[in-house]
Symmetry: C2
Subunit: 350 residues, 2 copies
Amino acid sequence: MLAGRMNNLTPYVPGEQPQDGVYIKLNTNENPYPPTPRIKEFLSGMDIARLKLYPEPTSKLLREAIAEAEGLSPEKVFIGNGSDEVLSFVFFGFFDGANGPLQFPEFTYSFYPVYSQFYDIPYTKVSLRDDFSIDINDFASTGTTGIILPNPNAPTGIGLPLADIRKLLEKTDRDRLVAVDEAYIAFGGETAVPLIEEFDNLLVIRTFSKSSSLAGLRLGYALGNEKLVNALTTVKDSFNSYPVDFMAQKCGELAVRDIEYGRDVIQKIIATRERFVGEAAKLGWYILPSSANFVFARKDGISGKEIYTKLKERKILVRFFDKAGISDFVRITIGTDTEMDSLLAAMKML
Amino acid sequence: MLAGRMNNLTPYVPGEQPQDGVYIKLNTNENPYPPTPRIKEFLSGMDIARLKLYPEPTSKLLREAIAEAEGLSPEKVFIGNGSDEVLSFVFFGFFDGANGPLQFPEFTYSFYPVYSQFYDIPYTKVSLRDDFSIDINDFASTGTTGIILPNPNAPTGIGLPLADIRKLLEKTDRDRLVAVDEAYIAFGGETAVPLIEEFDNLLVIRTFSKSSSLAGLRLGYALGNEKLVNALTTVKDSFNSYPVDFMAQKCGELAVRDIEYGRDVIQKIIATRERFVGEAAKLGWYILPSSANFVFARKDGISGKEIYTKLKERKILVRFFDKAGISDFVRITIGTDTEMDSLLAAMKML
């Protein structure tokens, strides 16, 4: 066996991605609706000779579109190959462990401990309340290398009010990064973007995979002070100069600019979620309050793994987490109304 | 200023990428011809609803296409977001510096020292012969963390015979990786792929950016023993589970399978290179023997920087390297015949 760091890694395990189309896929928080039809139009008319050239290395036009949508300058926008790559750069660049451990919630995105191991960053987990909500008071204000938390949190779906994010920023050392992972913010959360001007140690991370129906394209971004964005650019240019391809930049721009289409899709998903939560409650299921495009659900007397297995037999994929404290739950992505009706029918049988 | 590792980085500086189309671009070794027309057909008919789902995480179909073309099993193929990402994973995964420094040629791809710094890997540079060729005898056979070299080398364009690569593998400790970066192999080099079955510590890295005219798409790959590919997959899954998007996987597959088109493009570039080298020699230029889609050229009495500047005034971009030992040279990408004629006309004026 060769020597090397690869011998000491435990990789992230993403949800199943069957390619045969026989499952109702409610396991990886994809959007059930297609992306803006403007992408179809663009791809049909595209001059493929453009692909012979390297893409613009900073995703300039896409940054400008996002900046306009968010009311920020383009210098406050960084683009990466999915928000997982952006997060990876954040962990490498800002969390060196020199001042203490990284802090993140006990139950959260399971890639965080993987990045921490990858970059050799010590970390501590901050316990949740009994109702699985985050208590900002439990984060240390000093002696950490930084803080990362998703809002809404995953896999719980629970959102934090902006006032809590502000409180966290106010109490945290200003030379430590506070990263707010807003992958699911569009589905009902309160964004921290308005705090960027005030806090130069706040970075907000977003993705095109959920609200923009573009998981297949690999696009994510970060919003924050110019110094943070410049630092991320330096990290990118030390790892891979051109991680975002020409078509991804262009399709992302089209999605950002089709505001009305994006809003309609999100409203449909929220409406379906609320209807589903009501129906599931009638069936005796317990569901955490969700501000995301998924819900975290359980039913007395059956484990998460059993729910997963029995639904899979009925060709419905959901996700369970084999971890003490949340092993009774499954995470269910909100699909179309038809898909959720099929799920409800299957849930009645459990 | 925030604390963090990003404060200690000197990033790679890629060649200029002007987006306005006014330059003859001979500076970043792009292919002057468009990719296979099958990509046009695919994109025109593509069901964009597929983009709402994550891509297949291992690029299975693309791996199968490459495996078939190379006469290997798909388990010996790893796909990444450009060969720069693949190289980055190689540096992280295999070169930990524990057994000694990494070795690479003195004049070579300038991203190697950047990766080394990024991942904190000590390195030593192996001097070239006076004619800028690599002498395999100058690499240490033990006491290193591994070896990486491009074949053909960049920016010289000089290829190494397969017998030399074999000699290097035979003398190197078998628990150390030998990485051969074959970004330019299609333009006349001798590939090391036939040695993969024999040497389980050999990894060959390739890109779609040069011979396949797909720099805009970001696709690279590695070929090697299953254990090496599994290690790279572990690294990828600790960094970003889905770095290769759906369209890149599909377009890459179409390019690999259109063997005839790819061969024609490569033959045209080789023919143009040979003609250009002959004409440039008549003008008194000295050009290193090239097996790549670029040449490394100089002319007595004028520095590389001057050549670059004067050609840029004439709207032709080439690349110079401000480094002792090669500062007299410019690296010139082989474009179309028309582009090279414009360059030759401008060279007459220097």
